[in-house]
Structures are given as C-alpha cells and as structure tokens.
Amino acid sequence: MAARYGLRVVGLGYLAVLLVAPVGLVFWRTFEHGFSPAWHAVTTHDARHAFWLTILIALIAVPANTVFGVALALAIVRRRFPGKGLVNAVVDLPLALSPVVVGLALLLLYGRLGWFGPFLERHAIHVVYALPSMILATIFVSLPFVVREVVPVLREIGTEQEQAASTLGASSFQTLVRITLPAIRWAIAYGVVLTTARCLGEFGAVSVVSGHLVGRTETATLYVQDQFEGFDLTGAYAASVLLALIAIGTLVAMNAFRPKEETR
C-alpha cells in the first residue's frame, strides 16, 4: 500500500514540478491583469498575421504529408521494390535531426549561395527568407507521423479483404477507397493530429529560414520569441497561452484517436 502511494506521489510530483507548474504559471501571468490585456496582446496586427501564417503553413503541410504519407505506407507494406529498407529509414530520419540542421540544409539548397541559388535568383523566385522554405521546413519535420501510424495497422490488417475485393472485380482505386482507407482511417486520423501538432509547434527550422520579417515571415512561435526579446512579456505569454490552448486541443484529439491498445 505504501509503495503504491509512494509511486503515485513520486510520479505525480515529477509531473507537477516539471510540467504543470511552469505551464500553469504562464497561464496565471497572462491573465494576472485580467482577460483584456491578454486579448489585446494576441489580436495585434502582427500577432494575428503570425497565427494566420502558422495555420496557412499547416493547411499546406498536413494534407501533403497525409496523402503522401499514406502512399508511402502502402508502398512500404504492400510493395516490393529495391531500396524499400532505405525508404523506411529515410521516413524516420526527420525524427533524428535537429530542426536547426533542417533549416541549414534548406539554406544550402535554396539560399543565394546554395545549389539552386543562382537559378532562383535569376528568375526572382524567393524560397529562403520567404514562405516556400518555411513550408518545406515544416513538411520535412512533420513527415514521419502519418507513415509511422499507418504502417503497423496496414501490416496488421493484411491483404485478405483487398484480395477478395479484387477477385470480385473491384478496380484498385475502388479497393483503395472502399476497403483500405476505411480500415486505416483511425490510424490516419491519429497521424494527422500528430502531424498538425508538430506543424503548429515548429520553431528551430523556420527560425533559420524565415528571415524574421516582421509581419511577413513570422509564425506564431517566432512571434513568441520576438515578443520575449522586445520586452513585451505580456505579448509573449499571451501568444504562448494561445498556442498552449491549441496544444491542449490537440491533446484531446490525440487521446480520442489514440489506438485503443495503448492506454486503458
């Protein structure tokens, strides 16, 4: 009995000290002087643009990674082709890379002195220090999630139903839409939630490639840093709280869609 309570205290205490207290403090500091200052801080022109930009990037990155993620998962599980093991490993690579390194790699590719630099400059196409590189960075770091969630489920359900459909005359497209996708839809949903969370929270990679153009290439996370450095703690805290609320919303979704075997 004592051991049980002891463990509970230790575990919950750890959570409280490490997680709950810091986040709680920021919430408290934000609303210390009432709801109004916080609201004003988060609805300035720059703040609204920053959040809008974050959402825009996510609106492009998440569907892209979902569609291609499912395609990759199908290829990895169902197909045989040379280099399959490599594809599998490459998909996981973004998890092992520091986001700063992702930003650097993009600079080396699309920057003025990079591989495509001269070409892009000649055609006045702005990739780095503009939106496209931020989208690419976000796609990079959030790529693995849908694939990793769908692959095990695909493996588990096997190909029997799809084969049955095929012998009954279904085209591959029909099989995909009517059989495969519905079978993996919860895995996709969970993967989408994880991808979205990662997109909204991206900081390091976009910090390197954004150029910090005020009101232009600042995402919500960059905005938080900018406010913090500009002595505007209220602004930084308010934007953080808004991001935290979005994160909590993501948490709820994560727990709703989590594969049932993982938690009770």
Binding site: V67, H126, V128, I135, L213, R216
Partner: protein
C-alpha cells in the same frame, strides 16, 4: 491513389509558387534589414517617411536581428533594399558579396546615420559601486555583453574596453590582458544586443555593456535600471546603406534618415544624431576621453586582429574561457 497523389503534388507546388511570387518586390516597396536595437526608432521613422512626398505609398518589410546575423542572412539571400547595421564591417561583408556598392559611404557622413556611445547599464542603487572599467573586473562582479561573433554591439563593447585602457596609458598587451579578465566575468553571451538587454533586465549580472540608446530605451520602458557613461568610452557610429539594384524609393528613404526630420526622430529615440544642426537640439553628454575606432586603427584592421573567428584575439579569449 495516383490521382490523389498527383493532385496533392500539384497543390503543394502551386502553394509554393504562389507564396514565392508574392514575395517579389517592385518599385514602391522597401525591404529594410536592420540590427536589433533600432526597431522602435524605425517604427516612428517609417510612418514619418510615408507622410513625405517621396515616401507616399511606399510599403515596407522589416527584419531585425543581430547585426552580424543579418548581414549573413542578406548574403544568403534575404532580400534587402536598405541595410542598417550596427557597425561598418557588416556593410563591408555585403560589399565583398557584391550586394552593396564599394562607394556606399562616399558622402559627408561617411555612410553613418547615427551615433552613440558604450555605456554601463546598472541596477538601481548600483550596489556594487561600479564606476569605471577597472570596477568590472573586481571579484564577484558579473558582466553581461552579447557574443562578439554575432553581435555588432558586442564588438563595440570590446573595442570600448580595449580603447579605454589604451587611453589610460596601458600598453597593448595590458589592454588585451584586461579583455581576457573581463570576459572571465561575463556570465551571459546572447546573440544580439537586444537579447543581452533582455537577459540583464531579467535579473542576470551586475552590469551590462550596451549602446547608450538601448539604455535609454530600457529606462523609457520603465525598467529598473540606470546607466552611466564611463569617463573613457568609444564613439559608436552606425552605418546605413542602399543595396545594388535597390528601388529608387530606397535612396529617398536613406536621404530622409539624414534629413532634419529623420535625425530628430533618431534623437528622440536615444540616438545621437550625425546632423550638426539637430545635435544642438538634444543634450547628450560629451565625454572628455571619447575616442573613435579610427584611433584604434579602423575597423578593417581591428576586425582582422580581434574578431577573426580563428586567429582573432577574441577567439583565443573565448577558447580560453572553457578551461
């Protein structure tokens, strides 16, 4: 699957192209890339410029960051029409990259747009009684300064310290030894001057080396600090330049920055104007032992000797800090 994939690919490509096209600039817009501290000043300068005839309808994008970082970003492709940096070598970086004409500073101000001095920012009450450079290396004194390899402000700080000791009569060797001692008292090296001020204001350190205008800004924002100008300090000069291929509006903007109106706005924001007629309007204290970077050999020499990332004096001092 194929159809969906093709559509998705097209969507991503379209998204990327559309967003990149939107960023291209034509005449009537100015991209300002500046160091970290004058953000508030430009917040007033830009609307004032837009009220003039030359500035009517001109739109701005602005980027602020550590001076060295910003110069490097422009080299890497950050689009800039007007660059405003903390010190001349950062413009020289762009000249070397053929982004700024070598004749950028051939005007009566030698390319500079504002002046300042290095000051000590202290906590209210100055509990450690810091008055002069020698007080910075007393036991227990903690100093805040940005990292000299990314921040222009930090380089001014270093040269102020070195120059002050030379001005007092110390030899080159002794002055460098002082620098070494000083950096052993440094407790935080942020990327930019603005970040360093943030660190100091959050409670770290006893004294911060900063631009006078940063100190004035902090006071205006009701931060519990005050500053004092040491008897011997360096005159800071901040350059502004137009890039090659910049819009005509960019030149008009730079001209505005040098005009009486522009210089007055700078003056009100804590910067010392370069325009003599405007200097008289403000009462920035003059220091008896003020020296310039020219007296220390000029930035070209100083950059190489002190701030070369491999062989510079500061690189050796920083390496020695790890021991």
């Amino acid at each position: 699957m194929k159809a969906i994939s093709v559509i998705a690919a097209a969507g991503v490509a379209a998204g990327l192209l559309l967003t990149s096209a939107g960023a291209a600039t034509k005449g009537g817009s100015i991209s300002l890339v500046a160091y970290s501290t004058p953000k508030d000043a430009y917040a007033q300068l830009i609307p004032a410029f837009q009220k003039t005839k030359a500035g009517k309808g001109v739109s701005f994008t602005q980027s602020y960051g550590a001076s060295g970082d910003q110069a490097q970003a422009v080299v890497n492709g950050l689009h800039a029409d007007v660059v405003a940096f903390s010190l001349e070598p950062d413009v020289t970086t762009l000249v070397k990259a053929h982004l700024v004409s070598p004749s950028w500073n051939r005007n009566r101000w030698h390319g500079m747009v504002t002046r300042s001095v290095v000051v000590f920012v202290l906590r209210n009450g100055n509990p450690k009684h810091i008055r002069d450079w020698s007080d910075l290396v007393k036991p227990g004194v903690q100093v805040v300064t940005p990292n000299p390899f990314t921040s222009g402000g930090a380089r001014w700080n270093v040269m102020a310290a070195y120059g002050a000791l030379r001005r007092e009569g110390k030899s080159d060797k002794q002055a460098i030894a002082y620098l070494n001692k000083l950096f052993h008292h440094v407790v935080s090296q942020d990327k930019s001057a603005r970040e360093a001020l943030q660190t100091f204001l959050s409670g770290r350190g006893d004294v911060m080396l900063a631009y006078e205008n940063e100190a004035i800004l902090a006071q205006r924002k009701n931060q519990p600090v005050y500053y004092l100008i040491p008897k011997s300090t360096i005159r800071i000069e901040n350059p502004v330049a137009v890039t090659t291929g910049a819009s005509p509006a960019a030149r008009a903007f730079v001209a505005f920055l040098h005009s009486a109106k522009g210089q007055t706005i700078f003056g009100r924001n804590g910067y010392r104007p370069v325009l003599r007629s405007v200097v008289k309007k403000f009462d920035y204290p003059v220091r008896p032992w003020l020296f310039t970077i020219q007296k220390l050999g000029g930035w070209a020499k100083v950059e190489k000797r002190f701030f070369d990332p491999k062989s510079g004096i500061m690189a050796k001092i920083e390496a020695g800090l790890g021991k």
